[in-house]
């Protein structure tokens, strides 16, 4: 795959830094150094309120991570199934998967969140955080499904034919030949979805889930330090996503080993 195609693959999110972007003054470095500096300097220079905010908010970081990790794991499973469903030759499976994707894509995440939260609340009483995870993964599973589908379809059909001709059935072909290669194409957009999902978890703060944003809002409404609180929250999100995007880009680079001569 050429560099050109790879850049297109990453898609509109483009949160992942270009692996060649190693210069001292890359945008990523400037952003990271700036973020860390501010997170250190502000609390030192003005402990009240910055240091107080930093002591209050981090409880929410773990909640944000919990929701993110749980949702992405579920979304990956749903996504794989949906992606396979979307390329299935079985008409009903295909229709069901496509319908799911269409419906989810047509409804704003925030509305889905409310909807699932309250719809679920009528049937069973689940903890808020569980409702949040279900809603997030239901939504992101559909996007993930499209990512998987595109990844699988990007693999030359000759690979499938070679595998079938050896005696592998379709399921084995998918598991041993197609998915291991598709993963390479799938990883950058999955990485972007992961980061997008992490940021979108801020929406669950309206469902009484005590994530970073909610903790911040609680602090701000007591202390009235709105500006300072949201500054710190923005910086914390930025630090997390900057680190994650670097990790993902390194992983992507490692996975492409067999494409290098």
């Amino acid at each position: 795959m050429s560099e050109q195609e790879k850049i297109i693959d990453i898609g509109d999110g483009a949160a992942i830094p270009d692996p060649r972007d190693k210069g001292l003054f890359s945008a990523w470095r400037i952003a990271l150094i700036g973020t860390i500096s501010l997170l250190v300097i502000l609390p030192l220079a003005k402990p009240d309120p910055y240091a107080k905010i930093l002591r209050f908010v981090p409880d929410g970081i773990w909640v944000t991570f919990e929701v993110t990790i749980a949702s992405i794991s579920l979304a990956l499973i749903i996504g794989l199934l949906t992606g396979l469903g979307r390329i299935s030759k079985n008409r009903y499976i295909n229709l069901a998967a496509s319908l799911y994707v269409e419906v989810v894509r047509g409804i704003p995440l925030l509305v889905q969140l409310f909807y699932i939260y309250f719809a679920l609340g009528r049937i069973v009483r689940v903890p808020d955080i569980v409702a949040a995870v279900i809603a997030m993964s239901f939504c992101y599973g559909a996007y993930m499904g499209e990512v998987f589908r595109a990844g699988i379809k990007s693999i030359d059909f000759g690979q499938t034919e070679a595998s079938l001709s050896l005696g592998f059935n379709r399921r084995q072909t998918m598991a041993y030949v197609i998915l291991p290669q598709a993963w390479r194409t799938i990883l950058p957009p999955v990485g972007n979805e992961f980061i997008a999902l992490l940021k979108d978890t801020s929406l669950v703060s309206i469902l009484a889930v005590a994530d970073i944003l909610r903790r911040g809002r609680e602090y701000a409404s007591e202390s009235f330090n709105y500006f300072e609180t949201y500054t710190m929250i923005a910086l914390i999100y930025l630090l997390i996503t900057l680190v994650l995007s670097k990790l993902i880009s390194n992983m992507e680079h490692r996975l492409s080993h067999y494409e290098r001569r």
Binding site: Q172, Q181, Y258
Partner: protein, 246 residues
């Protein structure tokens, strides 16, 4: 199956792509150990016929029996039948994420549940045979086209098939690499492998074929021993084809 039965029996098959008839009432028997070379102009249905033999292409009517197994009989498992049929493609189709050695060992390990050590032993002897043992831990992108195609042949052989199908194995190669692949095929033929080969290499056809099949418009126009076929073609379409190509 009788010892005298052909190992491949293609009986009056037809194949439609929508309205288009790609195979027109084709019948062909291949005996155990026989080498059949299929010739014909582009679009005449050579690939379709070859791919019908391992059901990569499903036929519209007729029957194909391979080693006693009817490809379309309800009780038959196509995957087991395919293990008897090695296939080599024009575009190699090596598994890009696997090393040369892994390309050879993947199917025997997973499908025959063979012991890894035994499979690797077999794989190395096959790599020796096709002359690429020293590249065992390379990835396909690191090989030339000729090397890739030789690995692809070895990969098919690693399943120890009874029959080998070749679809224009040298057409995607630079001229200087064609010889190394044909050499491997000639060796294989000498060892008694049953082979069906679609190719434009007339030298190979003359040297190796027991039967030359000439196709045009989805039908078999002429079938003959190579000396008869090249020196005494009976049909005018065969003559025209040979004039154009030689």
């Amino acid at each position: 199956m009788n010892a005298a039965d052909p190992i491949i029996r293609i009986n009056r098959i037809n194949k439609y792509f929508g309205q288009f008839k790609a195979l027109d009432n084709v019948s062909l028997d291949v005996e155990l150990g026989e080498k059949v070379v299929v010739l014909g102009p582009s679009g005449s249905g050579k690939s379709t016929l070859l791919r019908a033999i391992n059901r990569l292409e499903t036929i519209s009517s007729g029957s194909i029996v391979v080693d006693g197994h009817d490809l379309y009989a309800p009780g038959e498992n196509i995957n087991t039948i395919r293990m008897e049929l090695g296939m080599v493609f024009q575009s190699f189709n090596l598994f890009k994420h696997k090393t040369v050695l892994e390309n050879l060992t993947l199917a025997p390990i997973k499908l025959k549940k063979m012991d890894k050590g035994k499979v690797e032993e077999l794989a190395f002897s096959l790599l020796d045979k096709v002359g690429i043992r020293d590249r065992a831990d390379h990835y396909p992108v690191q090989l030339s086209g000729g090397q890739q195609q030789r690995v692809a042949i070895a990969r098919a052989l690693a399943m120890e098939p009874k029959i080998m199908l070749f679809d224009e194995p040298t057409s995607a190669l630079d001229p200087e690499m064609i010889g190394e692949v044909l050499d491997v095929m000639v060796t294989l033929a000498r060892e008694g492998m049953t082979m069906v080969v679609v190719t434009h290499e007339m030298g190979f056809a003359r040297e190796v074929a027991d039967q030359v099949v000439f196709m045009d418009d989805g039908a078999i126009v002429e079938m003959a021993r190579p000396d008869m076929f090249f020196d005494n073609p009976r049909h005018s379409r065969t003559k025209l084809f040979l004039e154009q190509i030689l």
